[in-house]
């Protein structure tokens, strides 16, 4: 792709990461296109919801017409397999490949091949440490900062005390960035004792870790859980820990709990790393294939709510499962697949 100067189409959907973000432009190709999604690990709710969203979005009218062939594979946690799959799809002559990188490095070779064959690769969610491809993500550092600011706001004048930070998968860049963002603000604004435990973004693990932390440290003044937020809240409830200001992921269950217990002190904030990112990535890929200049790094607005803005059947669903991620649609991008639509429909309308 050529490096060009912006702006690109649809700026409030394809929002450049920063003023410095450069723009890329691929040679225009005639549609309809062959698009592949190369997922890595499957077997957690987020990924399932993502795959469903991708499928649904590809069916959505206005998109359907532009896609000739749509293929999805999950390669598991094995980077060699994921690289292989991407390269294979390049060889098969696909026009665009959407992927969640298993690792932030190691894609140089496939990127080289893609450029050679004028194929658009769009990593999202777990993005690559490179500026040679167009990528789509929410700003993880900002997520950390927002969470910190929420806690500070809810703590009022209090600028000391114990804060519990339940981290995600060790070694993952997302975990790292959210952590850094959070610490940056917290440490600037006050002198808190921040207790760190590892929750692996998994409810059970987060629940145990939180329970341990409470058992040892007694009372916390605020909690930031990167994921498995429901677990953390459950642990507090089991331990009869008073509800305190809290920031966490966008699981429906977490939002349900906030809605229930906000009055009792669970002053919650729920951002969402949305599975809907996949649709934006697809949209971006198509737009790129149509020859539009695209920001190299697309920053998707962070869909966040707090206890004041929660609304049943709008940004959470009190009568549906805890597990899925509430924020799925991005109206600004014409991505209107809502979480319930894909996660709460029964067998008949899947097959």
């Amino acid at each position: 792709p050529k490096i060009v100067s912006g702006p690109g189409p649809d700026p409030n959907c394809f929002k450049p990461w920063s003023a410095q973000t450069k723009y890329m432009q691929w040679d225009k190709k005639p549609g309809p296109y062959r698009i592949a999604v190369v997922n890595g690990f499957v077997g957690n709710t987020w990924r399932i919801q993502m795959l469903q969203t991708a499928k649904a979005y590809a069916e959505q009218s206005g998109v359907k017409e532009k896609i000739k062939e749509f293929k999805v594979v999950s390669t598991g946690t094995d980077v060699a397999a994921q690289l292989g799959a991407i390269e294979d799809f390049i060889n098969q002559g696909f026009d665009a490949i959407i992927t969640i990188a298993v690792a932030p490095d190691g894609f140089d070779r496939v990127i080289r091949l893609a450029d050679r064959n004028n194929v658009v690769i769009v990593p999202f969610d777990n993005v690559l440490d490179t500026d040679k491809v167009m990528q789509v993500n929410e700003d993880q550092l900002e997520i950390g900062r927002l969470s910190a600011r929420h806690l500070l706001k809810e703590l009022g004048q209090k600028r000391d005390g114990k804060i519990l930070e339940v981290r995600g998968l060790p070694g993952n860049s997302v975990d790292r960035d959210r952590h850094l963002g959070f610490r940056e603000v917290m440490e600037k604004e006050g002198k808190f004792q921040i207790v760190e435990v590892v929750g692996n973004w998994d409810d059970g693990t987060a629940q145990k870790a939180t329970a341990d932390a409470i058992a040892v440290h007694g009372k916390f003044d605020g909690v930031f859980t990167q994921g498995g937020s429901t677990g953390s809240v459950r642990a507090m409830m089991d331990a009869k820990h008073p509800f305190v200001p809290m920031a966490g992921e966008g699981e429906n269950g977490f939002r349900k709990l906030i809605a229930q217990h906000a009055s009792a002190g669970l002053k919650g904030f729920s951002y969402s790393q949305s599975p809907g990112l996949v649709s934006i990535s697809m949209k971006a890929a198509i737009s790129a294939l149509e020859g539009n200049p695209m920001p190299q790094l697309i920053s998707v607005p962070i869909p966040a709510v707090d206890y004041t803005t929660l609304k049943d059947n709008v940004n959470y669903w009190s009568n549906l499962s805890d597990n899925f991620f509430a924020a799925n649609e991005f109206p600004a991008c014409g991505v209107n697949v809502t979480a319930p639509e894909i996660m709460a429909k029964d067998a008949k309308n899947t097959q």
Partner: protein, 328 residues
């Protein structure tokens, strides 16, 4: 690797012998962990919560999930086999239980566990596929089924009240019900291993299946039953775990396989089968759970955790006086 030629074998659970060594050492190590942990908390915030009953009870409550899994796994390991399908057997049981909901939740959960275990047993006993690999395959299949299930059927995932009661309720606000469930399971396992034909047959097969078969023991059936029991226990653990976090979700079992294996061998059960006492497994579980908790409290980084895990396992097995060499 060589089957020990003249190692003592102690189906009778309670009796002094080389098999007591693991029990003693494991118990000692549990104390050590508590002391170290307390030292840490004393140093950092001048309190010693680890020695307070509510902390210990809470650990036992959390530990009972692992404990139940390990109990089942021990039966299989005593046969000289292994069950790698635990993670997704557990998850599947939990998810189907919540999906069924209501009064059916519990039976469905256990039933799924039993069924998957039986399938493992069929493959291992009748097809004679190495358990290491067959259960691996079954695990993958179960994962596939659950992914399709969640994606396709938007199942109900909320744990029923009964499940939550079993997992988190406390009798008189003190004794966790989960702990009692674990206790019942333990009693069943001890009785099976020490007082029943099945138990005797399990030890016999673990030592030398050929001879057991020629003694008229229906070895295939025994293997099948053992795997089915192990599966059922995974299922039970899954149901409880779902109750604990009030919901079933993808991958909830991932954290249970390796710790369970570790607990069983740290408890002195011979990974090649034929030898081992349940009491050891019990202590092995407590050891693992406390170790986890203390490391988490110390905010030990992942690297450190891994290294400590490995070292502990090796250290324990080394002090147990090592397996036998080739006999003359």
């Amino acid at each position: 690797m060589t089957r020990a030629a003249a190692t003592r074998n102690t189906p009778q659970a309670y009796r002094l012998g080389p098999d007591d060594k693991p029990v003693v050492f494991a118990a000692g190590f549990v104390l050590l962990i508590l002391i170290v942990g307390t030292g840490y908390t004393l140093f950092t915030q001048g309190s010693m919560p680890l020695l307070q009953p509510q902390y210990l009870l809470q650990q036992l409550q959390v530990g009972s999930f692992l404990g139940i899994v390990a109990a089942g796994l021990m039966l299989v390991i005593l046969l000289g086999h292994i069950d790698l399908s635990v993670p997704w057997t557990l998850t599947a049981a939990a998810m189907m239980a919540t999906a069924a909901g209501g009064a059916w939740a519990l039976p469905v959960g256990l039933g799924i566990g039993l069924l998957v275990g039986a399938i493992n047993g069929l493959g291992v006993a009748y097809l004679r596929v190495p358990s290491m690999i067959f259960t691996l395959g079954v695990n993958a299949v179960m994962r596939g089924l659950m992914v399709a299930h969640t994606g396709g059927f938007a199942p109900q995932t909320a744990a029923t009240d009964l499940m939550q009661y079993l997992a988190v309720a406390r009798i008189g606000g003190v004794i966790p019900v989960a702990l009692l469930v674990w206790l019942v399971v333990s009693i069943v396992v001890v009785v099976v291993l020490t007082r029943t034909i099945l138990g005797r047959a399990i030890y016999a097969i673990g030592n030398r299946e050929r001879a057991a078969y020629l003694s008229g023991i229906q070895t295939n059936r025994v293997i099948l039953v053992a795997f089915a029991l192990s599966g059922a226990m995974s299922g039970l653990a899954g149901v409880l775990l779902a109750g604990y976090s009030t919901k079933a979700y993808q991958g909830m079992g991932d954290a249970y396989l390796l710790p369970a294996i570790a607990a069983v061998v740290i408890g002195g059960t011979n990974i090649l089968g034929g030898r081992g006492r349940y009491l050891g497994t019990l202590l092995g579980v407590i050891l693992i759970v406390l170790l986890n908790s203390v490391l988490s409290i110390m905010q030990m980084p992942e690297a450190g955790r891994q290294i400590i895990y490995g070292t502990v396992i090796i250290a324990m097995l080394l002090v147990y006086g090592r397996g036998n060499t080739v006999t003359g």
